[in-house]
Subunit: 265 residues, 2 copies
Amino acid sequence: MNKSPLILVTNDDGMNAKGMETLISVARKFGDVVAISSREPMSGMSHAITIKVPLRVKLVEDEPGLKRYITNGTPVDGVKLVFNSLAERKPELLLSGINHGSNSSSSVLYSGTMAAAMEGAINHIHSIGFSLLSFDPDADFSASAGVAEEVIQAVLENGLPDGICLNVNIPAIPSEKIRGIKICSQANGYWKEEFEKRIDPNGTTYYWLTGFFHNREPENGGTGTDEWALKNGYASIVPINTDLTAYKVMEELRSMGFAQIAKND
Amino acid sequence: MNKSPLILVTNDDGMNAKGMETLISVARKFGDVVAISSREPMSGMSHAITIKVPLRVKLVEDEPGLKRYITNGTPVDGVKLVFNSLAERKPELLLSGINHGSNSSSSVLYSGTMAAAMEGAINHIHSIGFSLLSFDPDADFSASAGVAEEVIQAVLENGLPDGICLNVNIPAIPSEKIRGIKICSQANGYWKEEFEKRIDPNGTTYYWLTGFFHNREPENGGTGTDEWALKNGYASIVPINTDLTAYKVMEELRSMGFAQIAKND
């Protein structure tokens, strides 16, 4: 009999997040789980790593099939700690989330959840990030649990291309209303910030980062963006490159003014 | 007569970094500069944004052609602040760096310098990140200043494709030894961590993140990776996608096990 696969579960919403509990429960159906997260939420940490302060790790749960750690580090620190110091063997699969809130479109760039998945992919671990389109701490994760189970099953059976991880987003609607799961592209959009300027009791100005997401291609159902799929009742899967090279513009760049500076090219 | 272009200069090494001073000097040859950075270094912050604490900003220098701010925010926060609150007009160009240390290969993912450039690209500003392959606070930036000037000139003349920024790395060798500038791909490599485990005076374990970069394709001069170019005396330019979609694997994914779960696709 084969050994159970080892599955690393992490998130960026902190150790008590309902989304992570959900993902650990789903993961345990497929193998042994080693989970790591911060005590407090770490949203918006992206691919940050901790260089200036030492990392702390505490084993907070240890039962057959589940080891659980907390750390003061970022999501990416946590992944590195498990790969290099905490796990007795190499995880076969990395699952991140289920995030409370969307990581579709360009939100992927700010997301600690997706950075953890990208860190897995760089290290040749099949990696998937999951996000539910609801910030509610007590959101209903039953539909996302179902989607997660289906996607994990498919990845365990088929693997993933080298250096690629999956960005899975799930609309906040009941399971029976989800129309399916679509392979999508990252919608062209950005966060339009509106800094809220306030004055503190000492008379000094400060700002709160607020804003709203602006989709530059709202009607783009044709090429299948994640935003379009989610708005239309589908869960979306965007395959994410960890090689950021814009290959398709390399020739264009070479033929532009840059050629003149490539002295000995 | 045309108004001077407005150039946003930022970095992740803090306001006193020699690399940023160098870049501001180069930028002033091309237009008016608005500079923003943190007081202390922010290396490894990647695309992190500040959500939990308010942002502070202070104008520390205001002379003809140069406004300079410091903030407690990350490099990406700083860019957002300038775009949305501090600059009187939209910058034509964003320059980030010159970073003390390489941002080649997968280091692009951890880099606050490159995250700032990517934030610019998402907002349709021509954006370039520069890094010198030396961590020395007092490194010789004269060769990188020359490279930066040439690249900026080319970008102001030709523009950049939408959603793409440039990751420029410069070897730490004298100007006359630089063989040219090559348009490259991001080398396939990763940071192999070796956490240093220590015991503090209270008997509690802690870890320092250390490690070394491992290039998976050291001999790959054929397709022109950045690592190869830098090792061989060239400055490297990698065009960086802010759309992370792995388009080339979408069909493969659709034909794998995922099709079965795309119920109504």
